[in-house]
Symmetry: C2
Subunit: 336 residues, 2 copies
Amino acid sequence: MALDTLASIAEKAQCSVSTVSRVLSGKADRYRISEATVARVQEVAKLSNYTPSLLAKGLREGKTDTIGLLIPSVDDTFFSGIASSIIAEARNLGYTTIVVDTQESEENESEGFSTLLARKVDGILTVPCGRETKAFERVANADVPMVVVDRYFEKGARWSFVTTDNYKGAVMAVEHLVANGHRRIACIQGSLGAMTSRERVRGYEDTMRRFGLEEHIHVSGDKFSIQNGYAETNLLLNGPDCPTAIIVLSNKILLGAVKAITESGRHIPDDVSIISFDDNLIFNYMTPRITCIAQPVQEISLMAVKLLLKNIAGEKNVSHLFLPPGLVVRDSVKPV
Amino acid sequence: MALDTLASIAEKAQCSVSTVSRVLSGKADRYRISEATVARVQEVAKLSNYTPSLLAKGLREGKTDTIGLLIPSVDDTFFSGIASSIIAEARNLGYTTIVVDTQESEENESEGFSTLLARKVDGILTVPCGRETKAFERVANADVPMVVVDRYFEKGARWSFVTTDNYKGAVMAVEHLVANGHRRIACIQGSLGAMTSRERVRGYEDTMRRFGLEEHIHVSGDKFSIQNGYAETNLLLNGPDCPTAIIVLSNKILLGAVKAITESGRHIPDDVSIISFDDNLIFNYMTPRITCIAQPVQEISLMAVKLLLKNIAGEKNVSHLFLPPGLVVRDSVKPV
DNA sequence: AAAGAATAAAATACCGATAAAATTAATATA
DNA sequence: TATATTAATTTTATCGGTATTTTATTCTTT
């Protein structure tokens, strides 16, 4: 069964296409369509299975009520949380979201931008997976509004961005551990390239220094991955300066760290205290429950959508928002 | 900067729109465009920031190379795993995916169908959140191919579906527990309405009966939620027939069950063995590691996309696939 | 009653792409 | 040389909507 169109309805209702268009898009009054005609058209429309083509509408109107979301991986709880909130919020505001999962690959990201541009999305939200590549240039050239989420760029003054105040999060983590008497505190970072990681490391280093803990143990991981967390933790545990507490910079690194600690026969928090970034549903169900620095996922998503829609509406000035994280105290940190 | 179109390029290259169209869509040979013209057009196109409008293309060609994915919640690891695989596979095959998160609400689901239909997706993959509502009728009327994933309908012969062999999964779970000497085995189910849940319960009951375990303890939960798992487990633990083993029918129910058991001062698996449905990254990092019936998420996703593309290509007959689950033995089941 | 205003609806143009039909120019064949 | 072929490209129609312009009536108003 072929779908109805304005034309097929117009034929059945014995009137012109434009009349049908006006009636069905609620502009009958403005164009003073007679009550009789309105009734007739609506009657016919109800019986038909008419679904307006947003392709045609979008082509004609130059907007699609659609936004694109480029995200590194919907399979990571942190990102799926962001995706979920963004999709919901966009829907609330009348926008459909096209999700592109870049799988942390710049190539996929670049392709993703092309797809979104070609689909004429009204705006783009992106969690960049790496550097500010040429693909970003294309978005700028296409004059499509964009807001960067979570990760951002050094010189990223071109677009608004919304992120956690990662520096402050790290400060809070160190302060919490110091307040619990820890002095030998290590830090396992994620992607070296990611600004989020760099800011956290900076917060960690500054705060260690502030407390006169110059002997801070800074282990360089290279990825926000379980494997990385596992490997780096093993190095720490077997090294000369085994710490009493570890700050891990993501929920994935945490899982690897926990595995390494458990396998070494040590116990959290009795032998090693641990504090993670990113809250996670399951942190409540691990033994012990994991203390962490929670990112304001919901707020980030809401603000990102809000800023994007402002840009779509024509607003030109960019905002750089750092939203405050929260310390969630559970059972993985113990006083020494 | 306004985007280039075929027209703007045609002007610069001093030729007609159709010539440009042919060159840029790689049909120069077929329409024997001269080498000189091809070169000229490509030169101009390279310098411009042309992105073809998929709206126009879609409108004209009657296809959009886009599929829709309706899913209950990208924030649930099981579903986000499915979403992730589907998005990746669709992309491999040249399709873009529009994800609609229904948040387990039939209203959102219905709206989602409308959006997808209006956007003229070539096909739809859906994990239904409830009953076969009128919204499904609309999809059928619109003659848009659809494949149902994971959950399916009783009389669902209309569409192909791909799901885990949930019955078999439950059988495997009971057999594993019986092999470990358990006889007092309880089962906490999820949504009563979901076919997946019903099949698992059926598998559980049949197998209990087969082993002569008539005294099976069947607890009715009503949702695939942590809260449900927690509440029902508490009832079980405090009831007269406290089981030695529990089968929980989803990863969320598991988290609630673990919390309840731990809070009651009992230990897994010493006091109670537990086996879950759905494998989950974190099952490896809980204490103890959780034994489970793993669904073939990747295979389900691949087959679903494959079937959908076949339907899009014109294939009419429907397939009903039940893919085999796997038993993942970890540490949460102990012989009695 | 005739000119002007208001009402109701239809006709047309357009968005940007593709496909089919038409046109022109160059070349081959009878 | 007249005619048929082939090559190279342009013109036109179309997809399904919305916005603008035009047309045909009916109602005022002096």
